[in-house]
């Protein structure tokens, strides 16, 4: 690369070799790039890579709150996952979905939390996507009070999670539920019938998923709405001239052009849902019978409340493969540009 006049001038002014090396570090364009990148890299390493690395490291130790612990290799994982993780994984799914009584080798609560987390993420994300997309399409149309309606849709997202969780705590209270009261008033259930929202496994799972959906839909709806507004109106005009139906317009114009946004928004949504903590902690603390314990809440319970940092860190670390898989799926599965432009995938 040719020297800049500044570099030449500095070289001329340099009294010796050391100084000239220093000057080069200051002025060379490649090194300058490095210097400019350094603050951001230091920030990322300090606040993202280091904590992550430390968490992974802790998972290989028997550290407790207040003591450093010693290296114990894979012991935490052996205890949690058991000797046959794949059969345990399939076993817990069969037990929970089909009521089988497969005996697990690993930690039952851990495997249950894995199942719960996957169920919570898959069901909540799918429904959030469907409702979010539907809302975005609605909001993209011309209607009176459009701005106000869009602002109202954002409300669940703006309310702090802990506050909305406390509201749901009352809504789902077995004895004081407003939902039960309304159903009783409508005559849908008997006067003295109390719906066991958070005390029954299935109902509790459904309830926390509902609360998560309520909270997560605005994020998806508003982001997809932003994506929709980038789609050129001329494409729809051309389609109308060609006699395309509404479904065809959605399927062959809106959806392909929205896919990059969907990929990003669903990646974020899946990550947020998978790592959810506050909602569960306020509503159920993982109960009843650990039926709503997510990996994040179990990790907190074991590491901070129980004091077993190493084991808690191992549960957190066990979340990483699932999160990576989710990211890979959305990036490689949804972001294939040739396919979006009507070509074939390689």
């Amino acid at each position: 690369m040719a020297e800049t006049p500044l570099e030449t001038a500095r070289r001329a002014a340099a009294p010796d070799d050391a100084a000239s090396a220093w000057t080069r570090l200051q002025s060379n364009r490649n090194w300058l790039g490095f210097w400019f990148m350094l603050p951001a890299a230091a920030f990322l390493i300090l606040f993202l890579a280091y904590p992550l690395g430390l968490g992974v490291w802790l998972s290989f130790t028997d550290a407790k709150v207040g003591s450093e612990g010693e290296w114990i290799g894979l012991e935490n994982y052996e205890w949690l996952l058991g000797v046959a993780p794949v059969s345990d994984f399939l076993g817990i799914i069969a037990n929970e979905l089909f009521g089988t009584e497969f005996e697990l080798e690993g930690d039952t609560t851990f495997w249950l939390s894995v199942f719960n987390t996957l169920l919570y993420t898959v069901v909540a994300s799918a429904i959030k996507f469907a409702i979010g997309l539907y809302l975005a399409l609605l909001l993209n149309r011309h209607m009176p009070f459009k701005a106000i309606i869009r602002a109202v849709v954002l409300i669940p997202f703006i309310v702090p999670t802990v506050l909305s969780a406390i509201a749901f705590w009352w809504i789902f209270d077995t004895q004081f539920s407003i939902l039960t009261w309304m159903l009783q008033g409508l005559g849908a259930i008997a006067e003295d019938h109390q719906i066991n929202w958070l005390g029954d496994e299935t109902m509790a799972r459904a309830s926390v998923i509902f609360a998560n959906i309520w909270r997560g839909v605005p994020f998806i709806a508003i982001t997809l709405l932003a994506g929709l507004q980038t789609v050129s109106a001329s494409l729809y005009e051309a389609a109308v001239i060609d006699g395309a139906t509404r479904w065809q317009m959605f399927r062959y114009i809106t959806y392909p052009l929205l896919t990059p946004i969907i990929a990003v928004v669903m990646t974020f949504s899946v990550l947020f849902t998978f790592t959810d903590f506050q909602l569960i902690w306020v509503l159920t603390r993982g109960g009843p019978f650990n039926a709503t314990h997510l990996m994040a809440t179990l990790s907190y319970q074991r590491a901070i409340l129980g004091g077993y940092l190493g084991e808690g860190a191992a549960i957190s670390t066990a979340m990483i493969p699932f999160l990576l898989a989710a990211i890979m799926f959305s990036w490689f599965g949804l972001q294939r540009r040739k396919w979006q432009h009507g070509g074939r995938d390689d």
Partner: protein, 440 residues
């Protein structure tokens, strides 16, 4: 100079007339006369405690702190954290070697880092001798080897809370003292549409209290005296069978209850028998003036001891609150002076009185505190320190017992068995595996 003794003499000279000695007066007299440790020059202290449940308890505690500061010149900053957060913070402070000078936590907190706690043997020995001796459980929580590492300042009694009218309507004139009678009462309450209920969710206070009672009452234990896991026993099976029958007699939804649920359900007349401290009663009394329903509930409710099972002795599980000083403090004398101040009967009694029996005393002389005879409905909280078993029961009270409580091993076992989610033997097996891991 006015000393406490001269004040006392003065009150005697008045011929037994009711002379109210205000707290500040006592404190000044105490500092001049009875304080065993001279606080360091310029000392100031930080104390981290659990967040209060009864406002008047905190008010009277802060009044004590202010009196101590006025008498000794030692400023004490009181920080509050939720109960669950005191232990992690104390552990980290102990490890890092910096943080609040004193921690006021739960159960076995000082045993998690016993070598980092200030030795308070001389203080506790003195207090024990002066006030008729410590409760046995207080000694277990407060000592490590032959050293005192914390002052077991108070207990929170966990009692059966019940509505007298409902109990009578169910055909019982008093709370049954045996397991069979207690189960019959619960079934009868369900029969008259006024069911009971106790928390089976992850409720660290009320949930842990009743499941440990039911386990111990049947002679089941998590570990033996050598910390060997012995949960897999016929006694545990009997306990789980019994708990399941109770659960079936209770109101639906107890599996989702955390510590606050039973309070509001009781006050809303949804449940008529539950387990709690005396805070439900305190809340009803507090609102009684404005709300006739609360006045009626306060009038109609009472507290009772837990029934005794085949174990043949009380197997209750009350919360102990130990107060410990950290060795890293720059003012160990000020710490010990504060602890002594807190526990002297003249200060201790008004504080506990402010707590309205939410806190119970840990040394024998506390039996004579006047407030215990003020309200017969609070008397059941009085012997909490003498009736309670310690965390870990037969086993040690250290970090393993603390972790077993925090991880809800026994609570989950009982919940799994009650709900039918696991068979009795399946629930025991899961608990056994977890316990073996903690007690390895």
């Amino acid at each position: 100079m006015i000393s406490r003794r001269s004040l006392l003499k003065g009150s005697v000279a008045l011929g037994g007339a009711a002379v109210t000695l205000d707290l500040a007066g006592w404190a000044k007299a105490w500092a001049a006369d009875d304080m065993m440790y001279a606080p360091e020059e310029g000392a100031s202290l930080q104390l981290l405690r659990w967040k209060r449940f009864v406002q008047s308890e905190e008010d009277s505690f802060l009044a004590l702190v202010a009196a101590f500061t006025a008498a000794t010149g030692v400023a004490v900053e009181v920080l509050s954290e939720s109960m669950d957060d005191v232990q992690p913070k104390a552990s980290v402070a102990a490890n890092v070697g910096t943080g609040p000078d004193m921690f006021w936590g739960l159960y076995s907190l000082p045993h998690l880092f016993s070598e980092k706690c200030i030795d308070v043997t001389d203080l506790c020995t003195h207090l024990g001798e002066k006030y008729g001796g410590w409760a046995p459980s207080a000694e277990v929580y407060g000592t490590s080897g032959d050293k005192w590492i914390a002052v077991p300042v108070a207990y929170n009694a966990n009692l059966i809370n019940f509505r007298i009218s409902a109990m009578n309507e169910a055909g019982f004139s008093e709370m049954p003292g045996d397991l069979e009678g207690f189960l019959e009462l619960n079934k009868a309450l369900k029969g008259i549409g006024k069911p009971g209920g106790m928390a089976l969710g992850h409720a660290s206070g009320d949930g842990n209290a009743w499941v440990h009672w039911v386990l111990w009452a049947h002679g089941g234990y998590l570990v033996d005296a050598n910390d060997e896991v012995i949960i897999n026993s016929p006694e545990t099976e009997a306990a789980l069978e019994y708990a399941r029958q109770l659960y079936e007699a209770w109101i639906p939804g107890t599996a989702s209850w955390n510590d606050a649920f039973n309070n509001k359900a009781f006050l809303a007349e949804e449940v008529w028998l539950t387990n709690n401290g005396v805070s439900i009663y305190a809340a009803a009394k507090r609102q009684a003036a404005e709300d006739p329903k609360m006045a009626m509930i306060a009038e109609d409710m009472d507290h009772a001891f837990w029934p005794i099972g085949p174990a043949g002795k009380p197997t209750e599980f009350h919360i102990c609150y130990p107060l410990l000083g950290m060795q890293y403090t720059r003012y160990p004398n000020a710490v010990k002076a504060f602890m002594q101040f807190l526990m002297e009967a003249e200060h201790y009694e008004p504080w506990l009185e402010g707590a309205v029996a939410y806190l119970s005393h840990s040394y024998k002389a506390g039996d004579d505190f006047a407030f215990w005879s003020a309200d017969p409905k609070l008397v059941a909280a009085k012997p909490a320190a003498w009736r309670t078993s310690t965390a870990g029961h037969l086993g040690s009270v250290g970090e393993k017992a603390a972790a077993a409580l925090a991880d809800f091993i026994v609570l989950d076992m009982v919940a799994n068995a009650c709900s039918g989610r696991e068979s009795v033997s399946g629930a025991i097996k899961i608990a056994e595996r977890q316990a073996k891991r903690l007690y390895r």
